[in-house]
Amino acid sequence: MARGRGAPSTAGETPALLRLMKPFTVHRGRVAPLDRVNVDTDQIIPKQFLKRIEKTGFGQFVFYDWRFGADGQKNPDFVLHEPRYEGASILVAGKNFGCGSSREHAVWALADFGFRAVISSSFADIFANNSTKNGFLTVPLKEEEVATLIRRAQEIDDYALTIDLEKCEVRDDQGFYAKFAIDEFVRHCLLNGLDDIGLTLQHEKEIFAYETKHPSPAALR
């Protein structure tokens, strides 16, 4: 008998709010700079860790090949191992962050490691999409703004940023201020921690009507 089969739904009287993810409203945290462009999901979580069938515990493997040598020894030069970035919860990186494989494990690994958001000048579509399903924020800023943040994170001790999803802005204590754009519905879901499966199921009538008009092909039934 499989786990959880027939377990009571947590839906109760509010089916749209099934299984809340962690809401993202305003977050302040230490910033770690990853000064590279095109950081692909193979780097964020290498393939040998994709065989696990759980959603948890991926943080220890994040950026594995950069963080650890072939012998498993910690690479002290990798930015996330510098003591001053310990406990960082905001990552700032170069353009096209999260390109490549669709593996959501990349988001699970970053989140499990302690990050709540990544700031970059651009994100790969699937990575950005996966992030929104996990209460994890991708913040798109202009290239020169990202360069400023990377420089400040490298130069200023204990550099921290505030990411305010309510106002769609990023600010620091040194006068940096930038607005960012985000799809209004995605923002709404993140602010409220909404589960979008529940939201889609609010349209049961329309889905049913569509399926009545377009039944599954006979060959597949």
């Binding site: 786990r3 959880g4 089969r5 027939g6 377990a7 739904s9 839906a11 099934l18 299984r19 590279r36 462009v37 095109n38 692909d40 193979d42 780097q43 290498p46 393939k47 040998q48 994709l50 065989k51 069938i53 759980e54 959603k55 090949d65 072939a70 170069g94 353009k95 096209n96 390109c99 490549g100 669709s102 593996r103 959501e104 494990h105 651009s122 994100f123 790969a124 579509d125 699937i126 999409n129 996966n130 399903k133 996990n134 799809d183 519905f185 995605v186 979008d196 499966i197 939201l199 889609t200 199921l201 349209h203 329309e206 889905i207 569509y210 399926e211 377009h214 092909p217 060959a219 597949l220």
Partner: protein, 469 residues
């Protein structure tokens, strides 16, 4: 009068279930392909919420990513991989999902078996928890990769809430020269527009050179769309598409077939439809390409050299320097002087029968270079059988290539087929990211013909000068 629409817009509009105010549109999904790596957590999510698979008939699973390519029946020594395969088997059984399992005569890479079983059809919306789902766009379907949360979403609702992407037309004029394949076209495009050149867009490939491609070549081209950052890649259906689908196991039949074909013929982009972006490519200017760096946009003509990095803008220059350091190369090195240790012919990009025929034609009568280990991994059991009926396996084996069982294999090295640190590989796969084929491994992306030629020469060599036996 209705406004002129693109292929993408026609499919998008036909699949809109609801457009709630202030929310993303909800799109119906015709076909959901599932594999072992990105699905276990999605099935767990269903169980935790007490949900079912809404449309088991529209859900098809196979095992491909982490299975060994040794002869079937050899025990899986990687226990974590075995557990993941067992989880898919149990999930398919529990939720009533059709599974083409390890021992199935139709098992294969999910993007190879979808088309060859006739599951993939024009006009469909197709998703899979894998970025190379873009492959199916070759049929004039809207096909894109999703993460595990969205896999769960589709399992539970057969729908996805999606923001509407933009459209990009890549118009490939003229004719591909001899020795220049769909893989070279894909690499040439990515080299030109960059690995984020199509982010946020669905590409439609058009023009005479695309029309002239076989279905399998169109799959290779669409497969690589994600490497340009595209949400999906598509080719409008035509007679080539229709004759490919006809008679396939899950293709419509009789009256249903006629009805389907009539619909498919209405799909191509209207002549005056507009795209958000248009890129023009002159096919005659293309040549066989080899990647030199650590993303698929870092390409050079086989007759060229590893490029100078000095003139690049700072971020790109640093990326190129890191790539060269990882790849053990220096600017100015002739591509044809780069020696290789391994060759991989396979993956959802280039493991179909035409790919194997092309590689076998090159290999015939030659021997793999003494210091090269070369393997051929057919995309599916069906491809493997077809190749064996044609005697291709004999050509490969006599030339010194290993002939393996079907799976994703060394494209991503989740199974035991991996590069050792420092090994250099000519690979027909889709990604040359650091460590992709094994930690410290150095991947150069090429076409199947170029890979076979490199195996024999021991270094990259221009297929246009090959002495076919």
């Amino acid at each position: 009068m209705t406004a002129a629409r693109t292929l993408f817009e026609k499919i998008w509009q036909a699949h809109l279930v609801a457009q709630p105010a202030g929310r993303s549109p909800i799109l119906y999904i015709d076909l959901h392909l599932v594999h072992e790596v990105t699905s276990p957590q999605a099935f767990d999510g269903l169980r935790a919420a007490g949900r079912k698979v809404r449309q088991p008939a529209r859900t098809v699973a196979t095992v491909d990513h982490n299975i060994p390519t040794e002869p079937r029946g050899t025990p899986i020594t990687d226990l974590i991989a075995a557990k993941q395969i067992a989880a898919l088997q149990a999930n398919c059984k529990e939720f009533g999902v059709r599974l083409f399992d390890m021992d199935s005569a139709e098992q294969g890479i999910v993007h190879v078996i979808g088309p060859e079983l006739g599951l993939t059809q024009p006009g469909m919306t197709i998703v899979c928890g894998d970025s190379h789902t873009s492959t199916h766009g070759a049929f004039g379907a809207l096909a894109f990769g999703i993460g595990t949360s969205e896999v769960e979403h589709v399992l539970a609702t057969q729908c996805l809430a999606q923001q509407k992407p933009k459209t990009m037309k890549i118009d490939v004029r003229g004719q591909l020269p001899d020795g220049v394949t769909a893989k070279d076209l894909a690499l040439g495009i990515i080299g030109q527009i960059g690995t984020d050149g199509a982010t946020g867009h669905v590409i439609e490939y058009a023009g005479g050179a695309v029309r002239a491609l076989s279905m399998e070549a169109r799959m290779t081209l669409c497969n690589m769309s994600i490497e340009a950052g595209a949400r999906a890649g598509m080719v409008a259906p035509d007679e080539t598409t229709i004759s490919y689908v006809k008679g396939k196991r899950f293709a419509p039949r009789d009256a249903e077939w006629d009805k389907a074909v009539a619909e498919w013929r209405s799909l191509p982009t209207d002549s005056d439809a507009r795209f958000d972006k248009v890129v023009e490519i002159d096919a005659a200017q293309l040549c066989p390409f080899v990647t030199w760096g650590t993303n698929p946009g870092m390409v050079a003509p086989v007759t060229g050299r590893v490029p100078e990095v000095k003139g690049l803008q700072e971020n790109d220059r640093r990326a190129a320097e890191l790539a060269l350091q990882y790849m053990g190369l220096e600017p100015g090195r002739r591509i044809e002087d780069i020696g290789i240790d391994r060759v991989f012919i396979g993956s959802c990009t280039n493991s179909r029968i035409e790919d194997l025929r092309a590689a076998a034609k090159v290999a015939k009568g030659h021997r793999v270079s003494g210091n090269v280990r070369a393997m051929v991994v057919p995309g599916s059991q069906t491809v493997k059988r077809a190749a064996e009926q044609e005697g291709l396996h004999k050509i490969f084996q006599e030339a010194g290539f290993e002939w393996r069982e079907s799976g994703c294999s060394m494209c991503l090295g989740m199974n035991p087929d991996i590069l050792q640190p420092g090994e250099r590989c000519a690979s027909t796969s889709n990604r040359n990211f650091e460590g992709r084929q094994g930690r410290g491994g150095r991947t150069h992306l090429v076409s199947p013909m170029m890979a076979a030629a490199a195996a024999i020469a021991g270094h990259f060599t221009d297929i246009r000068n090959w002495k076919f036996q």
